[in-house]
Amino acid sequence: MDQGSFLDAIIWFVMLTLLFYLNREMEIMRLISEIERYLRLYRATRDKALNTTLSEFKSVLARHGEHGVDIKRLEERVKSLIELVFIEPVSLDPYGIIAKLKHLLRSSEKTLRDEVSRMLPPATEVEVENLLNLVSATQVLNMIYKTVDHIYRIGRKFRSYWILMQLSALLPFITEEVRALEGAIDAFTKGLPIGDSVGAIVAAKLLYDHGATEKVLEPVENTVVGELSLDGREVVIVKAKGPGGTTGRLDDAIRWVFDRYRGDINAIITVDAALKLESEESGAISEGFGVAMGGIGVERFNIEKLATEYGVPLYAVLVKMSEEEALSVIDEKLFNSAEKAVDIVKRIITERIAPGGRVLVVGVGNTIGVTP
C-alpha cells in the first residue's frame, strides 16, 4: 500500500497547523463580534442616560423659568460632571482610612450638590437630589462603557484570545449592572421609590402608622429622626430625608440619638435591601445580626463602633432582591415584602426588648419617593 511521500506528510502537517491557526482566528473574530454587540448596547444605554439627564436638567429649568441660565453652558457642564472621578484615599497605611474616606465622600457630595444648585438656582432640594442621582448613574454607565471598550481595544490590538475570552465571560454580569442602572435612570427621572428604598419605606411606614410623620426632626443634614411608642417600648426611627433621592447621613444621626439619650438604647435594628442569589426568591426576608448596610462601609463601620462602645446588640432585617430590582422602581411583590418587614421589625421589638426599653430602628437605603 502506498503510504505517501515525505512531501505529502509535510503538506499534511502544514494543513493541520493552518487549520488550528484558522480555528483560533475564527474564534477571535467571533469573540470580537460578540463584544462589539455588547459595546453597542452599552454605548446606546450610556447615550440614552446622558440625554435623559440633560433633558431632566432642562425640564427642571423649564418648570421654574430659565432665570438667565445659558443652556449651552449647562449642557457642557453636565457632560463634564459625567466625567468626574472619585480618587480613593491611599490605603497603604490603613490607619484612619475610614475618616479619610468619609471626609472625601462628604466633601465631594457637598461640592456636587452646590454645583448643581448653582447650575439650576431655582431647583428645589428634591429636584437637586434626584438630578445628582441621575448624574451618578450616568457616571457609572459611562465608566462601564469606557472600561469595557478599553479592555476590548487592548484585546483586539494584541489579538489576545485570553483577554477577549475573559471579557466575554464577564459580559453577562456587566450587562446585569447596566440594566440595573438603566432602571435607576428611569426611577430617578420619575422620582418614584426604588427597590433599595425598602428600608426607608419600612421606617416611614412605622412613623406613618403611629402618626409620627409630622413630628420628625432633622438633626443631621438629609436625615430625619422620629419617635413612637410600641407596646410600652420607645422606638426611635432614623431614615434619610425624603422624597429626594438620598441615603442620608445615618451614622451621624445615630451618634446624635446616642448623645441625646446618653447611650440608653437597648438595640439597633437596621432594615435594608440585600442582593439575592439567583436561586433565592425576590422579596424573601431574612433576619440576622449586624448592620444591614451597603456602600463603601464608612457608615457601617461607624455604627458598629458606636454599638460596640455602648454594648448595644445589632439586629438586621434584609429584603432580598436582584441588582436590577434594587435600582429600578419598586414592584408590588417587593412593596408587599416591605410591609411584611414592618411586622417582623415589630415582632423583634416586642420579643427582644423588654417593656420600658428603647430601640433604634434604622431604615437604610435610598429614600427617593418616600416621605418624610
Binding site: 453597542r40 440594566r179 422620582g191 416611614a204 425624603g242 422624597p243 414592584d331 408590588e332 419617593g369 416621605t371
Partner: protein
Amino acid sequence: MSEEFLSEMRRKWVPIYILALLSIVFITAHLILNYIHTKNSMYINWLIPLLFLAMYILFSFSRLLKMKISVYTYYRVIRCTKCGYEEVGKTEGKTYLFSREGKCPKCSGDMVVVKVYKKKTLKGITK
C-alpha cells in the same frame, strides 16, 4: 431602553431569516424535481445538510419571534385617613409615598399615598 435597543437590533434580522427560509424552500423544490427527473441520488444527499440548515434557521427564527420586551406601568394607591376609602390609579411619577394627595370623594378627609409600585407586561419584538 437596552431591551428596546436589543429588539431593534434583532428586528433587523427578520427579513434575512425570511429570505433564507424562502431560498431553502426553492432549493429543496429544485433538488426534489431534479431527483424525480434524473433519479440521481446526489440530489437527495444534498437535501440532508440543507434540511439541517433549515431546522437551524427555523429554530433561531422562532426564538426571535418569541422574544418579549418588558413594558412598565406605574401605579399608586391612595387611602383616606378618615374613612379608609382607597383608590388605585396610574401615575407618571413624582408621587411620593405617605404624602397627601387630594381630598376623599366620600368624606372630604385627606387622601394619602400608601403604595407605589410598577407592573410589568411583555410585548413581542416584531411590530
